[in-house]
């Protein structure tokens, strides 16, 4: 019964994400299409985080690092391509690019490597230590981006023309939205398949009882490290799309506020639920738009709402609407 209700809510969310921009297209409201694109991108960043936070029980407070790495991959590659400056000439030539596919691959590879290093150190710890150290590593990258002058430092980096994708005019809002929505769908399907796989079961098992996992011969550390890397890669991909949406990337994407926001999407929507990040990101953007329109200090009521959700509505939006989850 509850599974059916959650399925219904998920369907409504998916249909809304697709139909709202189409209606906005008909009414010639490109701003609403941009908002929907933002929802899709933030939801994708949340899908990445949800993998470790929701299913792995690992409270990473540093996912802005990966979001920002994705963003800077887009910004740096595009700026080199637009200025006709190769990134390096020796020992072999690497040039910039304005092709999203190449940018995505770079974002995936770089974020995976960084996540491998951060994960290998942070996953030796647990609990509060893990929260604080993931936060500290993200801050390290944030301060590096601010003090390294080559790519704009504190001022950030503009992407003058949105990067391209074969066969699509990415400058057209609805086409870019479609691209982001498809990427989100791929990330969600991948995440759904992953958590039902043997690997996903082991990850959830390690959250519920790490000792028992060890006893049956599965080392939690390696499972968690792989999950951390995959999670970082999904969030980095979202970051690359976000830089292209804004045609701008700055250290703000790496800031701890961003880590907090990505976490808020997951929690507002519902931790460990497939559609939780989408619900949370949609709710966040709608609130930002509605409250921000009436009151300059809209983050104050947002804070109160978040506080109420944490204190009284555990399980988030999807949890409240769909009821308690069946025990798996």
């Amino acid at each position: 019964m509850t599974m059916n209700r959650e399925f219904l809510i998920n369907s409504i969310l998916a249909i809304a994400l697709i139909t709202v921009p189409l209606i906005a297209l008909g009414m010639d409201e490109p701003f609403i299409i941009t908002l929907a694109t933002k929802v899709a991108i933030f939801a994708m960043a949340g899908v990445g985080l949800n993998l470790v936070l929701g299913y792995g029980g690992l409270v990473s407070f540093g996912h802005a690092a990966f979001f920002g790495i994705g963003g800077y991959a887009a910004g740096i590659l595009a700026s080199h391509a637009l200025n006709y400056e190769p990134i390096m000439e020796s020992p072999f030539l690497i040039e910039g690019t304005t092709q999203m596919i190449v940018i995505w691959i770079v974002a995936l590879v770089v974020s995976a490597l960084v996540a491998l290093v951060i994960g290998a150190i942070t996953l030796r710890t647990s609990g509060v230590y893990f929260i604080m150290i993931t936060l500290a590593f993200a801050q390290m990258i944030y301060y590096f981006a601010i003090s390294w002058p080559a790519y704009g430092g504190e001022d950030g980096l503009s992407i003058y023309v949105r990067n391209g994708f074969p066969g699509i005019n990415t400058l057209d809002p609805i086409s870019f939205f479609a691209l982001c929505a498809v990427m989100l769908a791929i990330a969600m399907v991948f995440s759904a398949v992953l958590i039902r796989s043997r690997f996903g079961l082991a990850l959830q098992g390690a959250r519920q009882n790490a000792q028992r996992m060890t006893a049956v011969g599965i080392a939690p550390f390696r499972i968690r490290l792989v999950a951390f890397v995959i999670s970082a890669m999904i969030t980095a991909l979202a970051g690359a799309l976000y830089a292209d949406l804004n045609r701008f990337v700055s250290p703000t994407m790496l800031s701890w506020h961003m880590s907090g926001e990505i976490m808020v999407f997951v929690i507002l929507g519902g931790v460990g639920r497939l559609f939780g990040p989408l619900a949370g990101a949609a709710l966040y953007i709608i609130l930002e738009h509605l409250l921000g329109g009436v009151w300059e200090f809209w983050q104050l009521p947002l804070g109160v709402l978040l506080l109420l959700v944490v204190l009284f509505a555990r399980g988030g939006l999807v949890g409240v609407l769909a009821g308690e989850r069946k025990h798996v």
Partner: protein, 305 residues
Amino acid sequence: MFSLFLEQLLNGLQSGVMLFLMASGLTLVFGVMGLINLAHGSLYMIGAFACAAVAAWTGSFWLGLVASLMAASIAGALVEMLIIRRLYNRDHLDQVLATFALILIFSEGTRWIFGSFPLFLSVPDFLTGTVILPGGSQYPLFRLAIIVAGLAVAVGLFLLIGKTRLGIRIRAGEADRGMIAALGVDIDRLYTIVFALGAALAGLAGAFVGTTQSVQVGMGEPVLILAFVVIVIGGIGSIKGALVGSLLVGFTDTMGRFLLPHAFATFLDPSSATAIGSALASMLIYIVMALVLFLRPSGLFGATS
């Protein structure tokens, strides 16, 4: 060069002492109540704003200092009784989110009341001069006063924890909450006192630092994260660890920013030496933290879990 070095050492000491005021509250709250409090930086901000507002209104820095202590500890006690108390039995994720929400509320509320423009705090007249350091350079007297005041508070805190009845209860609370509740200590009140004490220390640090920088919304966040690094290095829950960690982070950060560009300049051209040196210096404390954790996953003075 020597006097410049001495000046940077003093700056490092000042930053370490201020960090200790922040980190000791964080680590106490974690040690006694098991709570991770992101809103600790907001209490620092409240202290700075209260001091700046009252000092501007009355013309007296000292009244401002009293106001910062009062405002931060009252805000701390209220927040503890209304919200934080409900979080002790929750998992860390809920604590992180609820206190993140508190940051949004405090920051946005402060912006609403005081506006987005920074406030400035001026130093009392008799502390405005400079002192001559050995080697001939001048150092602001007020910065020295901050170091002395901070060290005095640190000594006071150690005496409070080590020698008084309240300190015994706090240490007992860290060791076994169930047992001291059974022995008749009013645990709810103890928690409120510990939280308010930590808040007062943070507020005091905010007021001190507010005199050397501008007082603005968001000022607490960089300090909060440094304080996290400190208690992770020192071992969460350990006051002694917080002291060692604060000094280590204060000195490493200040001396790194000062020395690294010079060090790179010995074999690189000046502009890239400054760029690489300052970029590396901004990452240095996190590298130290990673090293400490790699060798001792629960910090220098942490209980091995």
